[in-house]
Symmetry: C2
Subunit: 334 residues, 2 copies
């Protein structure tokens, strides 16, 4: 890994985006979101995704200069069309609207149709929490997990993000509905390692920790078996039915053609429900209770979701952000 | 199992509640919610819970005639105090308020502090869906699952309910954050059966399907390992911080003392976002796509969450509701 300063990565990505027709402000923002994701240690969904993002601009699925448009609104809810614009900018704009609605109504809800891959979902959780809001959002995806009892991928891994604002570091859960992503399965398989827990089925239909067997059967496991299968289903339903957009079953299996997805964004303003110092204390006490609880391995204390982010972010800002040299060469050539 | 008509069960339970000081209308409603749960096939959380519910009236944790009171409201959000009233009536009243707020604002959110066990969470999902709403609600609970990396129960299993209205049968997910409840572990253990998938850790700290080993170690597994651990954490945070109520770590391990829990209720009115026939078609098409997807066992097609409920309900209304004879004698003696 080479370590590259945040500003250099952002400027490089923005330069590519400018050449592709982005306006200056949108290029900077889009590049910043990619860079921040890698800076925060979510290496799978930041700079590493940039080449695919560019490929989807070239293949016509991502429209660089379209912005989301408001279709309908009622009270604290709005429905937007993403017009196949850049997924991260669309999602950012949508959470921004949910936050504005929450300031006005205590809660805000935005449904977004016809958008594109939002890259790292946690980004919009951090966005809400930075605004002092509880943020909840999810997206549907192409089918990549069999439903419980099924043998072919028919559910999306539909990442779900839930963020809680906290002065000492937001709590941000960002989890897909599959136990392991295909990227993770490939990475274990390349290293010749078994998964730490069952991750899917082998060709005989038995649960297995063997990543190669799961890649061969194409039967990854939803979290909690039947439970994650159900959760993925209802998340897809709500995203598609409120945005009047595309559902998972309408998407094919090619990630380069995963366009037009549906997303929802909730923001809740805790300060509209009571004194902010009181709700903050409650969250801090829950964190303290987790830290007090005995760990199975004394050197691995229990962590809350997102706990390591601020530390990784700080390190990467000081030392430079780790980027794979081949990836970086690939980006410099775009 | 003996089969008892719905009306007879409801009248019997209502009779007990009247003796305990419930007003007539509240006794009927509370008894109806218990009976409907068993009628719907959720045998663990209906009539079977009634003796414990009565015990918690006797031990002073459930106050029969207190109703929830509005503490604060702002736009589409309200905060209520449950005043330790009957958990199912409190939860019903709260989802009712969320529905009313959603009619007015497109979305409604109610946070409820100081309430009691809501029995079957799915009840309030069905309630929202019957009103044409998407319903989302969850409760925190006493600590009964270790966090990922921990050895002592410090998280609640915090059931999460997500309901989608559908003319041909609502889609209702009702799932706890533990892979198996302690009731289920005990039931497998009594029958001398292994669990179908890993359900927790044995004394050596290894994942196991042996229910007796998990009961001995007290280390049940959250769904999706680290993922359900994180999800349980943020659900507890949001319930406690918005209601300004009790968090899981403040509750002990005795179910008879599990009083004062925190809950949240969301309702979203799909009709406020677009034509109802369009959103209904989207949901029906997702259901159809699941039914089309090939099943691992041809006689066990893929089901959506709650799919069997209407059929079980209809059967039990015709044939009578199955109740364990010993349980029924116990209830008749109350």
């Amino acid at each position: 890994m080479q370590r590259i300063p945040f500003a250099e990565i952002q400027a490089t990505l923005a330069g590519v985006l400018l050449k592709l027709g982005f306006s200056s402000a949108r290029a900077q923002h889009c590049a910043q979101l990619f860079t921040q994701t890698t800076c925060d240690g979510v290496y799978s969904h930041g700079v590493a995704r940039f080449p695919r993002f560019v490929a989807m601009i070239h293949n016509g699925n991502v429209h660089v200069e379209t912005e989301p448009t408001l279709v309908t609104h009622f009270g604290a809810v709005e429905r937007w069309n993403g017009n196949r614009g850049p997924g991260n900018l669309n999602a950012w704009a949508s959470m921004d609207r949910a936050i504005a609605l929450a300031r006005e109504h205590g809660i805000g809800f935005v449904a977004l149709a016809d958008t594109n891959h939002w890259m790292r979902g946690g980004t919009y959780g951090w966005q809400a929490a930075d605004a002092g809001m509880i943020g909840i959002c999810w997206t549907n995806t192409l089918p990549n997990v069999p439903a419980w009892g099924g043998v072919e991928p028919c559910l999306g891994n539909n990442p779900l993000v839930i963020a809680v604002p906290r002065a000492a570091g937001h709590v941000v859960l960002d989890m897909a509905m599959s136990q392991f992503s295909y990227g993770a399965l490939e990475s274990y398989s390349r290293r010749g390692q078994m998964l730490p827990v069952d991750g899917g089925f082998n060709a005989a239909g038995d649960l297995t920790r063997d990543p190669a067997a799961i890649l061969a059967s194409n039967r990854a496991l939803p979290i909690g078996y039947w439970k994650g299968s159900g959760l993925s289903t209802v998340l897809d339903m709500i995203a598609a039915m409120t945005s009047l957009g595309i559902a998972t079953h309408q998407l094919g299996s090619d990630p380069l053609q995963e366009a037009g997805t549906s997303q929802v964004f909730f923001a809740i303003h805790p300060a509209s429900l009571g004194p902010a110092d009181q709700s903050a204390r409650i969250v801090d006490e829950i964190v303290a209770s987790l830290h007090r609880s005995p760990a199975a391995q004394p050197d691995a204390p229990i962590r809350y979701p997102g706990e390591r982010t601020l530390q990784i972010r700080a390190e990467n800002l000081v030392l430079g952000i780790p980027v794979d040299p081949d990836l970086w060469q690939q980006i410099l050539a775009l």
